[in-house]
């Protein structure tokens, strides 16, 4: 496990290597480490941000010192605390945590899924085969970011992997479900983007009036359910 400074108020903790070969194992390690670090309540720690193979731990050196860190060497003290919190976390059994399963309805109407035909052509499948194959995937959130509430999902059937568009679109509507390379994700709010859009969900993935503001967090399992245009219209709030 590698711990490197991310500036003077954060460290990056690399808990897994080789994401591409074993994404599921990497995620499991990240989620387990996230929980352990949260439970350790290390003085001065502000927040933890997981992503793929790393967890960033943000801290306030002044508060760390108030909480017992030696004023002349916060970094060594912090590293020791982190290693202490994560000691033995490689044992898969004890750290296995069941994350919540979130079902997300998607409408694949051509008006919403404006790149569905291109994805189908790339995969040499019909649009309906793409929809069926997409729904059969077993997805997990590896990271939330880029913009508030955007989930990066792993688990896309490899046949559906489609390169990002050469020229990103200036505006992708909120709720758009896209494929970008080997990953899939959902645009929580209207934003520019370069992923191939295959459908749209009526669910709101990001709401700053709620706390927590996001529907999904790293580790969550996601299942997609196809819905009709009528059901979509009924569900939009």
């Amino acid at each position: 496990m590698q711990i490197t400074p991310l500036g003077d108020c954060a460290v990056l903790i690399r808990v897994a290597e080789n994401f591409d070969e074993a994404p599921e194992q990497a995620l499991q390690k990240v989620i387990a480490a996230h929980r352990r670090l949260g439970a350790a309540k290390i003085p001065g720690v502000i927040e933890l941000a997981p992503a793929y193979t790393t967890i960033a731990l943000f801290y306030d050196p002044v508060r760390a010192i108030d909480g017992g860190a030696p004023a002349e060497n916060v970094p060594d003290w912090l590293e020791h605390k982190i290693r202490e919190a994560l000691a033995g976390s490689d044992s898969r059994g004890a750290d296995y945590v069941k994350n919540s399963v979130v079902e997300i309805p998607i409408c694949y109407d051509p008006e919403f899924g404006f790149d569905l035909d291109e994805v189908a052509q790339h995969a040499e499948l019909s649009p309906n085969e793409v929809i069926d194959l997409y729904a059969a995937g077993n997805y997990r959130v590896h990271c939330v970011g880029f913009i508030g509430g955007f989930p990066f999902l792993g688990g896309l059937p490899s046949k559906l992997a489609t390169p990002r568009r050469e020229t990103p679109r200036k505006e992708i509507p909120a709720g758009s479900v896209g494929i970008g390379g080997k990953q899939t994700g959902i645009y929580p709010v209207k934003s520019p983007g370069g992923w191939n859009i295959i459908g749209r969900t009526p669910l709101r993935l990001f709401d700053p009036q709620k706390n927590p503001p996001g529907l999904l967090r790293a580790g969550d399992q996601v299942r997609f359910r196809a819905i009709s245009r009528e059901e979509f219209e009924r569900s939009v709030t």
Binding site: G7, F19, A56, R217
Partner: protein
């Protein structure tokens, strides 16, 4: 009570100390680009340090008060006035009902933070009143303030009322914080950095160039980041990395070799190699950079970065004590 932005200026937004704890949902911390300046300005007017104030970019703001308030500002080399009376940075002053505070474009620097006693009372989103301009929430309907708009102000604290009484005759306090707190802008600044976690994804020459050359601030800089023109920094690979957290102060190198210094509204994750991290203590200076400014970078150790940060926090503690003394 309310204050009216007669003229809103180039880009004025409501900011406080931002939102912590939401990076796992992709929400950046945001808040005042110079949190220290806002804390100091708030202390000067008798507010709690995290109270919401105005972040003023390139001046042009004229704000009219409907009741008596204590105000103070910290930031770049601006000309500011209450009516026709000049108000230098870092001095608490009493504005009376019907009076205007105005601030014109600065000679050096580009941003200022105005604290008003009682604070600006906009709705709290996710624990903060800060405007997230990128996501469009917080502050004044998630956007910059517009001409003629009214700002709701909170109640004056007992401390602010006492301050107002002491300023009734002289109007402007004679005491002020250290100059580099009230006026952090510098011509041709040198920003200190610690080596980045992906420095080995750039060539050794790139690191030398970064710490020896001058860079120019590009016009497409904003609250998300300062984009730098100058010598191209070569990467060892064109391929980006698996996304991981970035933070304000991170200097990342995209494939075009033009470094970007991230500020508070930056994305929470990124895949460009992180060459360096500007130390937190120097981010207020970075927040003053304007297009065409020259900036240089100089490496320090992490321990040095912590030392200066902790020292300033101790000094701020003393400054709080000093204000108590003035109130007696």
């Amino acid at each position: 009570m309310k204050a009216t932005a007669i003229r809103a200026g180039f880009l004025t937004s409501v900011q406080d100390l931002g939102r912590a704890g939401l990076r796992e949902f992709g929400v950046s911390p945001g808040g005042a680009l110079d949190p220290h300046a806002l804390r100091v300005a708030n202390l000067l007017v008798g507010n709690k340090e995290p109270a919401a104030g105005l972040e003023i970019t390139f001046g042009g703001l004229r704000i009219r008060f409907a009741d008596d308030r204590v105000i103070a500002w910290c930031g770049g080399d601006f000309e500011a006035c209450i009516g026709s009376m000049r108000l230098a940075s870092g001095h608490a002053a009493l504005v009376q009902s019907g009076e205007d505070f105005s601030i014109e474009s600065p000679a050096i620097g580009c941003r200022a933070w105005l604290a008003i006693s009682g604070g600006i009372d906009v709705p709290v989103f996710l624990g903060s009143r800060a405007t997230d301009l990128k996501a469009g929430f917080g502050g004044m309907n998630g956007r910059a303030i517009r001409d003629g708009e009214q700002l709701l102000l909170g109640e004056n604290s007992e401390r602010s009322k006492t301050l107002a009484e002491t300023l009734r005759t002289g109007r402007i306090a004679s005491w002020k914080p250290p100059h580099n707190w009230s006026n952090p802008a510098q011509p041709e600044p040198v920003l200190r950095f610690i080596r980045g976690s992906d420095a080995d994804h750039c060539t050794a020459e790139a690191m030398r160039t970064f710490s020896r050359s001058g860079f120019f601030v590009s016009p497409d800089s904003d609250r998300m980041g300062v984009r730098l023109d100058g010598p191209r920094l070569e990467r060892t690979s064109e391929k980006d990395l698996l996304s991981e957290a970035v933070a304000p102060g991170t200097v990342q190198v995209p494939p075009n070799g033009r470094p970007i210094l991230l500020l508070n509204d930056c994305q929470t994750i990124g895949g460009y190699p992180k060459l360096a991290h500007v130390i937190t203590f120097d981010l207020p200076i970075a927040a003053q950079l304007r297009p065409a400014d020259t900036v240089r970078f100089s490496e320090v150790t992490l321990l040095e970065a912590h030392r200066v940060l902790c020292e300033r926090e101790r000094d701020l503690q003393q400054f709080r004590g000093g204000i108590e003394w003035h109130l007696k």
